[in-house]
């Protein structure tokens, strides 16, 4: 089990969790970033202070709109985070954000802007491959459009559920290419000799020390020892290229990503607080489902659940829970072919754990407690007032039986 996932080599996972986690993390991060930038200030710059190559973006109207557009982007992103109509909320949020960043770039295309562009590409990829993502509002809505037979099949063919994550596959490839560019840029502009000594890094650290008037924690040792500076310079290029190489060759990307994060941390310690967004971007490729498998599912206790395969509300809810069941700890049996112990025509739901049998509301509570993420909910459902209310709701939701 790798700590980071090479989606370029294989974009199929046994759980849909990673897509949902990345969508939420990415969305929250970008909302925070977008609402924190001083959009209103950019239009105040004198007009002649423009990057002429993109002068067509330097329009009064564009600058006037920026402070309002940030709220539109934030609103769209909130819908994106919960996964509501991802194709359009994500797609429009991403395009609008890219336009705002491009307008800002006429004043100054800083690293923050470039990192946010990368985030925007990832959001756009989520929009393009929106249907890959079942743990979302869209995913729940889609269960409504599927026939009971299809949904029942999802539940009863439980053990080999697989999920494609194309957004993360292409996202990882884009990030890898961009990092190759970081290393390539030095080869493109610099003479060959700069690869043979640490002078480049030493001078950069000294120069930024002078420019900002701040001494950095890791600056002094690297400046004083040329071999350290050389190792830092060449090591940077090596880790930046390694991500792409590992990704396309189908090797583990864990070491390359940890290497690049290490590089970012050392940049912060030697030059200043640059590129923190990229640390977030790289963390998105963590194997979240692996962590979840270890901490969030009571794997040792498997249960059997008999359910009413004609009760559509129940089946749709169970499908969502089935997506969370990464260890296949729940075996779903439809009542049409359930043994008598798992059949309860009246209550609709039966759960068997360790020989104990639960029915109806209590069965649903026991099922939720199977997932530690839902443990607080399961705990609340055991308290008398919630139980009283829940039992009545359950009874009214259950299909009427003759």
């Amino acid at each position: 089990m790798s700590a980071f996932v090479n989606y370029v080599a294989d974009d199929v996972r046994g759980s849909p969790l990673n897509l949902a986690v990345v969508r939420v993390l990415l969305g929250i991060w970008v909302v925070w970033r977008v609402l924190s930038l001083e959009w209103a200030a950019y239009g105040e710059w004198p007009e002649f202070h423009v990057d002429e190559t993109i002068g067509f973006l330097h329009q009064e109207l564009f600058f006037t709109l920026l402070p309002y557009q940030q709220w539109v982007v934030a609103a769209l992103l909130v819908l994106f985070i919960v996964g509501y109509r991802t194709r359009w909320t994500g797609g429009l949020a991403s395009l609008l954000l890219m336009h705002m960043l491009s307008v800002k770039a006429t004043i100054y295309l800083a690293g923050t802007v470039e990192s946010l562009f990368v985030c925007a590409y990832l959001i756009l990829l989520f929009a393009l491959f929106a249907e890959d993502d079942p743990l979302s509002v869209d995913g729940v809505r889609r269960t409504g459009g599927r026939s009971l037979a299809e949904l029942n099949a999802v539940l009863t063919d439980g053990t080999d559920r697989t999920y494609r994550m194309r957004a993360l596959k292409w996202g990882l490839l884009a990030v890898a290419i961009i990092y190759v560019g970081s290393a390539w840029g030095k080869a493109l502009n610099g003479p060959l000799e700069i690869w043979l000594s640490g002078a480049e890094l030493q001078r950069d650290i000294l120069f930024y020390g002078e420019l900002t008037g701040i001494d950095r924690a890791l600056g002094a040792p690297i400046v004083e020892h040329e071999w350290l500076a050389w190792a830092g310079f060449v090591g940077t290029a090596a880790v930046q290229v390694s991500l792409f190489v590992a990704a396309v060759l189908g090797l583990s990307v864990t070491l390359p990503i940890i290497g690049i994060i290490g590089f970012h941390v050392s940049v912060i310690l030697t030059l200043g607080l640059y590129f923190i967004d990229m640390i977030l971007v790289l963390s998105l490729f963590i194997a979240w489902d692996g962590i979840y498998r270890r901490v969030a599912v009571a794997a040792d206790e498997s249960v059997r659940v008999g359910y009413d395969d004609h009760w559509s509300g129940c089946v749709r809810t169970l499908v969502i829970l089935a997506h969370l069941d990464v260890t296949d700890s729940v075996e779903f049996v439809s009542q049409s072919d359930a043994p008598p112990a798992l059949a309860d025509r009246k209550e609709g739901l039966v759960l068997v754990r360790d020989g104990s049998v639960y029915h109806g509301y209590e069965a649903s509570r026991q099922l939720l407690s199977q997932f530690r993420l839902c443990a607080p909910l399961a705990f609340a459902m055991a308290t008398p007032p919630v139980r009283a209310l829940g039992t009545r709701l359950y009874a009214s939701a259950a299909p009427a039986r003759s």
Partner: protein, 202 residues
Amino acid sequence: MVYVLFFLGTLGILAVARRQYAREVWLAGFFATLLAVTLVGMPLLPVVDMHKFAQPSEEEETYYEIRMVDAAGNELRVDDRATPPVTGTRTSTVAGQLAEGYTDDQRLEMGEFYLANAREHRQAVESGERSVTDRLQPPRYVDDEAWTAAELREYEAFEAIRIYEHTVVYSDDNTAVESNEERLRVTIDPTDGTVTEHEAGR
């Protein structure tokens, strides 16, 4: 125009995303552009590269500095927080333009822009108010030195800006800065409408 094409094309692809080859076409276009941009090192918005710290350094390097000048003639380094979104390297570029690129009219306009923003920012720092939204801000890109209220108390009203040129020379083994010489280039006083070039240095 590639820019407009990108947005229209992407919207079109989003609309027909489920059709065969639609997304493949978008991916092919996007990755071809990304590769080209990355190879050449020139962003083609909205597709960017990240060639960072890519310019090789020389034995001797120049940067420019903007300083605020108060009524008594005291000088204070500029705080980039006053004029978002720039940081040190960009301020240096602007200052370089002020030293030799811009016309006098442009110098005065930019000088006024810097002064107005500096006054506004100074007021915010001196009042010591930090709103809840300020506290929720992500860390600033490049954590350079900020003005402090205590520091600002020593100064009278800002009236002009001065541009300094710095020449940094590294020692032979690159383990230290041998010298960092500063030379006053221009004083821009939008209040009087005067621009004074200082050719001979201090």
